[in-house]
């Protein structure tokens, strides 16, 4: 996989400052900082319970933060629902529960945002399948996503193809950022490789990608920036090429790596 030219001056699309979040007595996030840039893959790593999912859920509008600041494109945002966050052009790919297995790929891509026919039929909410199919084929082509059957049920696709459909859907609607929580956790080696390539292609469209993963080699292969969480705080942040697996593991487990500006 080829790295794009290193460029840490790319626009910051999402910035979290000193975000705090507690669940009862559990402090999941204790003042975490985080930054994701346009056109880059930003990996978010950390041990189990470090707070990755909690942070991502705040970024995707599922939770609201108890404290701290969220900046989207430089302006403070207070999203209170996933719908809010999607209005900012930020889409999330969930590890599971993502697609409707009984619907076709294009129905999934447009689910909840269906194209309707014009005129009276549109008012009667009649869907415009032809347009939806064409636009889906277009985004699939541009991301090099291949599914064997565009009119068949998504459940008949392989796990990797399903994840690709989910990522393409997010890329279709995201104008600024796509968040992915462990998108390759359930995949085999070959499928993981093709999904990682897809993730890079999404970033090359100029969209920011936030990637949670437990697989260090994958992270090193695909990420432009790696931010490490430990016990609800960011303890380290590396640019591409600055770290090896051992550095990441040390930061995740002991958190003694110096805090760097990304």
């Amino acid at each position: 996989m080829t790295a794009p030219v290193q460029d840490s001056t790319a626009t910051v699309v999402v910035e979290a400052r000193q975000i705090r979040k507690a669940f009862g007595h559990v402090e999941a996030l204790r003042g975490v900082d985080f930054k994701a840039r346009a056109g880059e893959v930003t990996a978010l790593i950390g041990d189990n319970g470090a707070g990755k999912s909690s942070l991502v859920k705040i970024l995707s509008g599922v939770y609201t933060a108890d404290g701290g600041e969220l900046l989207i494109n430089g302006t403070p945002a207070r999203p209170s629902s996933p719908q809010d966050i999607r209005a900012y052009g930020i889409e999330t790919v969930y590890q599971d529960l993502a697609l409707s297995g009984d619907l076709t790929p294009y129905e999934n891509v447009f689910l909840g945002r269906e194209k309707r026919l014009g005129g009276i039929l549109g008012l009667l909410r009649v869907v415009d399948r032809r347009t939806m199919r064409a636009e889906t084929a277009e985004i699939f082509d541009s991301l090099n996503v291949r599914v064997k059957d565009h009119k068949g049920r998504v459940a008949t696709l392989s796990g990797g193809q399903q994840q690709s459909v989910a990522i393409a859907r997010a890329a279709m609607w995201a104008s600024h950022m796509v968040i992915m929580d462990e998108p390759t956790a359930a995949l085999g080696v070959a499928q993981t490789k093709s999904v990682l390539e897809l993730i890079r292609r999404v970033a090359e469209r100029g969209i920011g990608v936030v990637l949670i993963s437990h697989n260090m080699p994958d992270v090193l292969a695909v990420a432009d920036s790696i931010q490490v969480l430990r016990l609800g705080k960011r303890v380290a942040s590396f640019r591409r090429g600055e770290a090896e697996v051992a550095d990441l593991v040390r930061a995740m487990t002991s958190g003694d790596a110096p805090e760097e500006q990304s």
Binding site: D102, E107, V127
Partner: protein, 351 residues
């Protein structure tokens, strides 16, 4: 790999604990038949008709018999269309028969108060609206129970099955109300349009509209997406609760339409005659290819599917088999249909 295990329906929960029958090595024609269940069902239906025709050609093949099969299928078919939408969301509506009875009893009482047998079209119009609205009310109850109170559909609709039937008996003192306006029976129940009974035409119009909605509108797509993956539908911004409530209201309202049709056909309420409607409508829908596990639903299939139990009923009566066997047969057929549905899913889903 179970990436798409978001289906929370009762059926799916049960199915998860059972080994999926493996049809991976079935011949191609078996697979394509499994993929198009409504066509397979059409073949089975024609076989049934052939068998009964050979056994009793004069009685079974008569136009009187076809007319009565069509009328029965029309009334129960309209209710089965509602059931199809409910099953599509991964839910189930056991209350259709009781809800139908409740609607007819309230409607018949209102029409009795407006002149009874000699009442005019005004009374009939009010009666039909009352029948549909009273039935839709129970659909609303079901919908609220399933969404806001999170009562499983199986239990919620079983509860309203009891409540609606009890309420109908309270309203009618347990006795059928026979004072249905004569014009309702004469000008709707016995009416023909181009040789086809008006009730059949009404049922076909309902099925056509509902089929189009399920097939070609966002409402239909959202229905199937909820049945397929409720959590995913919610995350895609679909108002899942509101949609589910509307689905149960639709099922109740269509049971009400079926009730009004039944009043026109028989000119009386039929309080004791609908205990098997839930079984029949579910069997009809599933036989036609609608999945008991949600996500897949087809009104065309339901129309074909519902003809199977209705034809069995008529055939058994004509051949002289005790009619109780019909209930037995429909029950058995439902079990087979669900098994086939599982085969179908097992052969198509990648794991």
């Amino acid at each position: 790999m179970t990436m798409l295990n978001g289906n929370k329906s009762v059926g799916a929960a049960i199915a998860e604990r059972m080994p999926t029958p493996d049809s991976g090595h079935a011949p191609r024609w078996v697979k394509s038949l499994l993929a198009r269940p409504s066509i397979g069902m059409l073949v089975i239906l024609l076989l049934l008709i052939a068998v009964f025709s050979i056994l009793k050609p004069d009685a079974f093949l008569g136009s009187y018999n076809f007319r009565s099969i069509a009328l029965s299928a029309s009334v129960i078919g309209v209710a089965a269309v509602g059931q199809t939408f409910v099953l599509g969301t991964g839910g189930i509506d056991l209350s259709v028969g009781s809800v139908l009875v409740f609607g007819t009893v309230v409607s018949a009482r209102v029409m009795a108060g407006m002149g009874g047998v000699s009442a005019g079209w005004g009374a009939v119009g009010v009666g039909v609206v009352v029948c549909v609205v009273a039935s839709a009310f129970w659909g609303l109850v079901n919908g609220l129970l399933v969404t806001y109170l999170r009562v499983p559909a199986l239990i919620a609709t079983l509860g309203s099955l009891g409540m609606a039937l009890g309420a109908a008996q309270i309203v009618s003192n347990g006795l059928d109300i026979r004072s249905v306006p004569a014009i309702m029976t004469n000008d709707i129940g016995y009416e023909n349009v181009a040789g086809i009974p008006l009730l059949v035409v009404i049922a076909l119009v309902v099925a056509l509209l509902a089929g189009f909605v399920l097939w070609q509108t966002t409402y239909g797509v959202h229905t199937k997406s909820i049945g397929s993956n409720p959590e995913g539908a919610l995350r895609s911004g679909i108002p899942v609760r509101r949609h589910l409530i509307s689905i149960y209201v639709l099922s109740g309202a269509l049971a009400g339409v079926a009730g009004a049709m039944s009043l026109a056909e028989f000119s009386t309420t039929t309080i004791g005659g609908h205990t098997g409607d839930n079984l029949t409508t579910i069997a009809g829908a599933v036989l036609g290819g609608t999945s008991l596990f949600g996500g897949v639903a087809t009104v065309f299939g339901t129309i074909v599917g519902i003809l199977v139990p209705v034809t069995l009923q008529s055939g058994f009566v004509i051949v002289g088999v005790q009619p109780f066997w019909q209930t037995f047969a429909v029950g058995a057929v439902l079990v087979v249909a669900v098994f086939v549905d599982q085969l179908r899913r097992g052969s198509q889903n990648r794991r």
